[in-house]
Symmetry: C2
Subunit: 308 residues, 2 copies
């Protein structure tokens, strides 16, 4: 029932994410469909062709080649920076056949859904928003791996307009890579990732920024040790990508930032009052939760989780 | 000139830090002095004796044994939680011979200096405040290692009252463990570590606390991935230790928290205004600094560092 195959898959942006999907479907799942990579220029997809990750390379501005590629395609993946989702969808909308299902790999979803509504018009139902949660410390097609998605989570945010069978087909594609597929609304998705991913990135960038502005920055960096190293590892992430995510997920991120500032103000008050008991109680709660998360990948709370 | 030896070293609190000093001096530096471990109870230092980390175990409340231990001791290390520094120094003050130099391993220094002033009186000159910067993910004497301090930093915060030769002797002791020894004032020390160590711990605890308070905490934890893992690794640190550090280094930590809140407010304003250029510029600065720190253990800034 979950068997997945395809005839032609078009990937816009063949980097770590798109390249790993292609490799996973071919090398891990053994599926023999044709994979076409589309880049801003031919040059940007040449390496993927060289590596055998794709069967054919197409430049985005080559009207004839793009039309040929999309003709008969059953699947399209948009794996470009989220800010490019709307122009890309607008570019392919007129070429999209009724049989083709489009999905994406963007880190934010409300903005992607808005972009799809604006760009696809009556073809909106063909677009199934998605987000594979995979490491991005390295990037580019050279870093693509057939097992990048094994035991990773992929979130789909189906639209009311989607045919259930189309959503199931995108889910089956991701399961073929070894991923676990989850479904939630785009609002829920953006709130969750604003909290556990986007906010920590902003907080980490802010700590390095603060030290850089200090008059004794050199001295401070020279005594930074293991705690600083772990805390700021994500401050070496791509400035362009995180700029886009902050802007794209603005509303949810601002809400999380404000909640965080409130917790920090409470901690500040406890430190100011030398309220050791309050600090210890909060730190102990965090420690237990962090250890439980580390061991199980989740925690049990007394609260009522938003999705079951 | 740097040759170091001792006749009798007394260690109050034989855990990771105290135990590793004893092992380093004996096993790494090959020094044959006698090492006496003092614990709150005999039981708390029995394991160190079993492991051969110390030659003799003494209970803190055993007046006669403690007096015998301190008789003829040339060195004393206080390696107990910082909150216990003052009572420990008060306990040993009357037993301290003129030849004995006392140092400590506390993570904060202004409060330790205040404690020493209160507890030691005219014997204050015999106390050389210190702080070995060594990982503390594991704790207890079973985690003690002879090479824990190799290529680590040790900060000494000499007092105006200290004899230079006594400070040199404590520096030589730490160098014998393989550490690099630095000197700065206790105020400078506390500001530096408030920034690069204490603040990130508070920020990390606060993120986990915030998620725990969210109605969809379970869902959020279940999608937390690599960025969250690194950012919150220090949120699994000892609640008691970090409670003590927050209270002991209150003034410097509050100043860093306020500076951090100001940076975060600026980032918030840029996100609110969808000011991608400002965000990208800040993130790019952080990324360059973080990468340079990773590669060199320090950064070059245009600023004038407080200490050369």
């Amino acid at each position: 029932m979950d068997a997945f195959s395809f005839n032609k898959l078009i990937i816009f942006g063949v980097g770590l994410i798109g390249g790993s999907l292609a490799r996973a479907l071919r090398e891990r799942a053994g599926i023999e469909g044709r994979v076409v990579g589309v880049g801003r220029s031919l040059r940007s997809v040449e390496r993927a062709l060289e590596l055998g990750v794709i069967d054919e390379a197409v430049a985005l501005d080559d009207d004839a080649a793009l039309a040929r590629a999309l003709h008969g395609a059953d699947l399209v993946l948009i794996a470009a920076p989220v800010a490019q989702t709307e122009p890309l969808l607008a570019r392919i909308a007129p070429l999209l056949e009724a049989r083709t299902i489009v999905t994406d790999a963007g880190s934010t979803k409300s903005d992607v859904v808005a972009a799809a509504r604006a760009a696809l018009g009556v073809k909106l139902a063909q677009f199934v928003p998605g987000h594979p949660i995979a490491g991005r410390e390295s990037s580019g097609v050279d870093a693509a791996l057939p097992d990048l998605y094994v035991d990773r989570n992929v979130v789909l945010c189906p639209l009311a307009e989607n045919a259930p069978a189309d959503v199931d087909r995108i889910a089956a594609m991701w399961r073929a890579t070894g991923a676990a597929v989850h479904r939630m609304s785009e609002t829920q998705h953006d709130r969750v990732f604003a909290s556990v991913s986007h906010l920590p990135h902003v907080l980490s960038f802010a700590l390095v920024e603060q030290i850089l502005e200090a008059p004794d920055a050199e001295l401070k960096f020279s005594f930074a040790a293991g705690g600083f190293r772990d805390f700021t590892r994500i401050a070496a992430s791509s400035p362009e990508m995180w700029r886009d995510i902050c802007v794209a997920n603005r509303a949810a991120l601002l809400a999380e930032l404000d909640d965080y500032a409130a917790v920090l103000a409470r901690f500040r008050a406890a430190i100011d009052a030398s309220d050791g008991a309050a600090l210890e109680a909060a730190f102990a709660r965090s420690r237990v939760a962090r250890k439980e998360w580390q061991e199980r990948g989740s925690i049990k709370t007394s609260g009522d989780p938003a999705a079951k």
